[in-house]
Symmetry: C2
Subunit: 384 residues, 2 copies
């Protein structure tokens, strides 16, 4: 059983999150990833909390199984090594500001001439084209400018940031997709290509529903708290011991919900259709909570699940990491230390493939420049 | 210039969002997508608001350029057509509950025997394995159970839903990645494989930072409103005419910020390092806003951009759709009607590839069963 990307080598100049997330995904699919880091400092996230015995868990949980070599791309000896690495690699990834690679002599045009089969993946805040290509960005900036914050939060209060770094992560995911597509294309043509991912663009790709609404009505949607903006009931409800979720996405599910809660509302004209339920959402919520406040979350989740109504708890991250379904799916894995002992916990690979092994552990993340000797020996072997 | 997936045919049984989003992405990379819909009803989203002249803009903006044939997979004549389609396709996608395809005689095991090269992509709420594989789920359920809601919202208030349907969309993105990886693997082996994507798993894959924190400290993170939980200042600030964002991710950017705002804080021990700034975040916010409240958002965004500090507006979706950088990147495209006139607006393709054309329009979405005659003629041609 060979992995889809076995035999593929990725030379990864990226740091922090979007790029390293992409190369982590590609490593999970079988690629070898060689991180090229700045001497002395390395990836910024080596200094990001949380720490365990002085090591960054943040860095470790995104860079497991990668190799590291520290190179100064302005130093001629290091450039010679980098040139040899380019010649042996299938993909190079970078997340510098547009123009930086060109100044180093490693821009796409130059590299494509020298290594026609090399695939070049770039991820930046605003992309390599357009009037604001050169501006810096972080996750927060693209979440705000890209529209997701404007529809997230409580109605009539200030918008909030999505707690997960979707500005970076979704960009990393599209970069990984682009690399996979370019590898397919290369099989047909022998030629590499450049992939230019902008974090801002990727936020737009999350807005399908909101764009459709704005396009048809002219009115941009507002935040709607814990409610879906156009399906009812599809929100949080109070039980006697806290909040849980009910998502009754159509009339049949609403009828089952009413039966399970012994609420005679399914034929009530105020609630019989989804448009009517949306109009009377506040009243409906009060009627449902008058029932659900009488027992525990666990009780209602059991009752509604038995009735076939989509429902579930709101779990914090500690609870998620012990969720039996998550554990059965091997979605929490151990990152090992050099002795093979579990050291950190990380998210597993969500792409479950019948032809891809799904290990329960990950190899350690690399020390800065920790694989230099191995990589140099490998390069010697390649050029003999 | 051939697209990476040109010549690839995807038989798409999915409806609503996660599956159709995956096939939209693959269509943008050049694949032909044939939607197989239920006779009479079709994809549920054909009935989802918003509507334009009775047609769903929601459906249109996710299914542009796809073909449609209505088939009853329990009817023997329709099954014969479906069998012919399977024989001509590279990929089949489905989002039924686990077991439904098996009952129809189209489970992965059966199909893999009959069509060894066929790739089978499934997306479901909880996946095809584990104790809760059979439970129904919607976006809201996996956002709640998967932990993202627990870190999104204002501190000490109720959690909120992410306004974009990331429960579905991120699952669709991982499905598309899995399909691309399987296509690569098939080039080497000639064999298809099954991809089993769970919406719940995919939420975990968004939690990198939160999992690292929980794993090391034992304490799951809480929502932090519009602030990054461990970088300061990285949040919203009030100007005289409303909120905007400043993301000063390290000490050098903080020093530039202080200089631009003429605030003598860069060497103040309360703010000199990121840990100190995090501890004194409220005080720092008040000191910064004492300055920023004195002028407009546009003023501060201009001043801070000139100083090289990441900053930006919080845009609503109407504003995003007119953002010059977004327009320059062709991230808002027109979906045409049958006469070639723009009818809806949709998100463009965020995967910009040097070898892939980036059209400014999309072909119409299909009428239910609207391509039956063409598809049947094509099948006849293939088997002659």
């Amino acid at each position: 059983m060979s992995a889809p990307l076995s035999g593929i080598t990725i030379l990864d100049l990226t740091h922090v999150l979007a790029g390293p997330y992409a190369s982590m995904t590609l490593a999970d699919l079988g690629a070898r990833v060689i991180k090229v880091e700045r001497p002395g400092i390395g990836d910024d996230t080596r200094a990001f909390p949380p720490f365990k015995d002085g090591e960054s868990a943040y860095f470790a949980t995104i860079n497991h199984g990668k190799e590291s070599i520290a190179l100064d791309l302005k130093d001629s000896a290091d450039r010679a090594i980098f040139d040899q690495l380019l010649a042996q690699s299938d993909v190079v990834l970078e997340n510098y500001r547009p123009g930086v690679m060109e100044k180093l002599g490693y821009g796409w045009e130059d590299l494509h001439k020298r290594f026609p089969a090399l695939i070049y993946g770039a991820v930046s805040g605003f992309g390599h084209t357009g009037p604001e290509a050169l501006k810096p960005a972080y996750d927060m900036v693209v979440q705000a400018r890209g529209g997701v914050m404007s529809i997230t939060g409580e109605r009539d209060r200030e918008p909030v940031r999505v707690g997960a770094s979707i500005g970076d992560i979704v960009a990393g995911m599209f970069l990984a997709q682009g690399i996979l597509a370019a590898l397919l294309h290369r099989r047909d043509t022998g030629l590499g290509q450049k992939i230019d991912i902008a974090m801002l663009d990727c936020q737009l790709a999350l807005l399908e529903h909101a764009i459709a609404i704005t396009s048809v009505t002219g009115e941009p949607p507002r935040p709607s708290g814990a409610r879906h903006p156009s399906i009812t009931p599809f929100e949080t409800f109070h039980a006697e011991d806290g909040l849980f979720v009910i998502a009754a996405g159509n009339d049949a599910l609403f009828a089952r919900l009413c039966q399970a809660l012994q609420l005679p509302l399914a034929d009530d004209p105020r609630f019989a259709t989804n448009p009517a339920r949306c109009e009377n959402a506040r009243l409906l919520k009060r009627l449902i909570e008058a029932v659900t406040l009488g027992a525990s979350k666990a009780h209602w989740i059991e009752v509604l699940t038995a009735a076939g109504v989509p429902t579930g708890p709101i779990q914090n991250v500690a609870e998620v990491m012990q969720d039996p379904q998550i554990l059965a799916r091997n979605m929490v894995v151990d990152v090992l230390d050099a002795e093979g002992t579990p050291r950190y916990t990380a998210a597993g690979n969500p792409i479950k493939m019948s032809g891809l092994s799904d290990p329960t552990t990950r190899r350690p993340s690399p020390a800065l420049d920790g694989d230099r000797a191995t990589i140099l020996r490998w390069l010697e072997g390649q050029t003999e």
